[in-house]
Symmetry: D3
Subunit: 129 residues, 6 copies
């Protein structure tokens, strides 16, 4: 697949804005392994989707967190909890999102999510919610 440099660079910019160095490292690992996969992830996931105008980053992280929790995709949740805080979701908004999910996908998934929220908040020294 020929890369689309414009979309790829846009994606890298978005990732930098949202998560800084850790995010770029995660992509870099995929980039070294199989560039086309990193291409799709960055160009489509972030260069296309995340930079579309109709929804801002905060709305997009609301959607992403909810989707990850609802499908039980917990490997990616820590990354996006950090991104959500970085783009301006408050700790309280994040916790309340998890509580809202409890009604929509049940308490097990909400508990798994809340455990990760606790871990991320602790790493970031967030003590007030």
């Amino acid at each position: 697949m020929s890369r689309n440099p414009e979309k790829y660079n846009k994606g890298i910019d978005v990732l930098n804005e949202m998560v800084g160095a850790p995010g770029l490292q995660a992509i870099d690992v995929f980039q070294k392994f199989y560039p086309d996969f990193a291409d799709f992830l960055v160009s489509f996931g972030f260069g296309e989707i995340y930079s579309r105008e109709a929804l801002d980053y905060k709305q997009r992280e609301t959607i992403t967190l909810t989707s990850l929790i609802s499908q039980g995709a917990f490997d990616q949740l820590g990354f996006h909890l950090n991104a959500a805080l970085n783009v301006g979701m408050s700790p309280k908004e994040i916790v309340e999102l998890v509580i809202h999910c409890a009604a929509y996908v049940g308490f097990p998934k909400a508990c798994s999510a809340m455990a990760q929220v606790m871990a991320v908040f602790e790493q970031r020294g967030i003590t007030e919610i």
Copy 2:
């Protein structure tokens, strides 16, 4: 289970605000069948969760729509697409939410969701997105 009238009535108020008569009819069917189930749905789902302050109705419908699409719970999607429009999500924001979900749960679920979005918009005479 003894009902919690305060939370139940709060839930009815929220439902009325969000979807009006159609929503109340849906609950009424459950209420006639097995009141305790309607109680839980209304008191917990809407009286507790939806009326919590940290997230407004628009944010909550963002979460709900995303959760329904991500878990493939399409029976409830039409109800909440209407609620989302009623609480101020724009048609464009809704369509863009579905597109965002395509990256997070794949195109099949996004296509099923988009078909319902099209149907609801048509019923409501929404022609501009």
Copy 3:
């Protein structure tokens, strides 16, 4: 695949016990289309699993109903709601199982399940829960 007549016949007996003619018709459709699939379904699903001693039919329908609701496999739910009633689950136990599931997989799936419970109870003339 060579059929295992002993297990197959055992499976047919179990199906007959649990759902009678409707159940056998459903299998018959698969049997005419591709016998090996009907074989697996009947021999393994019912001849092996359902006839194992450690759990009785009522416990097994508890497990089956819960699994169908939890994975959103609603095409098979009506069949098993009938089976559950036939093997001695009370209407109340069935409704309460759905309510229990609401806490474990969320209200959307519970609502979809409850709608089918209502339909089956109506077809069977069950008015008291």
Copy 4:
């Protein structure tokens, strides 16, 4: 959210009955982090749902185990395997529940569940099934 002390205390009692100190510790962690979440979990999950009369604890753990396995919510499975044993499910009934699930959600999820069953049985010194 104002707490409902009656339901909360009922939930703590149920948790104590079912899992004793380990269960209360798990809740305590959430309670310290964000009390409202612990409230919902305890009041609704255990104070309301688990204490409803129509199904006994053994039936409820049958439902809970099945739901966790069927949705792949394995983080909570160990907790409930212990609870199931405490409320009177025999080791054999638990193992047979997993086997039944294999037919309903496939062997991968059943294998993941069985591995946890083995671990819990070993921790509890259960050698006879």
Copy 5:
């Protein structure tokens, strides 16, 4: 979003090859509703993914059918059952894929899938498997 005409046209070609007019009609409906969504679906789903060299169409339909069945995305299954036949999967291979899925996601999803396989084969006058 600016469209990528090269990828879009490639996607249309792939769709034409795989499903002909019905497939293009499905896209056309989305195209009229919200062009960007059709763009993503066609450019990414078919222009990029389906035309990558390492896997041929038959392998790709094997993956697609399996993914749809495994996630319970049955709205799109009929479309891809037709595509699978068109790109050279034999009726037997398709039925056997469903049987294989029974072991991996359980019999409920396999039964739902088999019912659709039967319907598609009937529409296409396939009587020999």
Copy 6:
């Protein structure tokens, strides 16, 4: 349940062919714990399903890998990534299968899968894709 020695031994042969000693060890653990479960797994999963003629091992591993990724059953993915390589799927075919899945179940599950692909390739000294 009385074992079906013919199917069981066939299943052991298949496992031996596909994964050698590691696969047999995994089964052995289950065999020691609860023989009936190992029986089902080996006899049905491998003795019946995997040895059916219409699809070869390579096609079957394509289905299995896709099903595991699509349902998020990542505990079994490493085992089958090894099996896939052993039965002749090329590293490139495997990586491209994951990319194809990204479009069908979203990037989160694809990323989790790709991380495991990277780990398995590293363990096996695969440097060229």
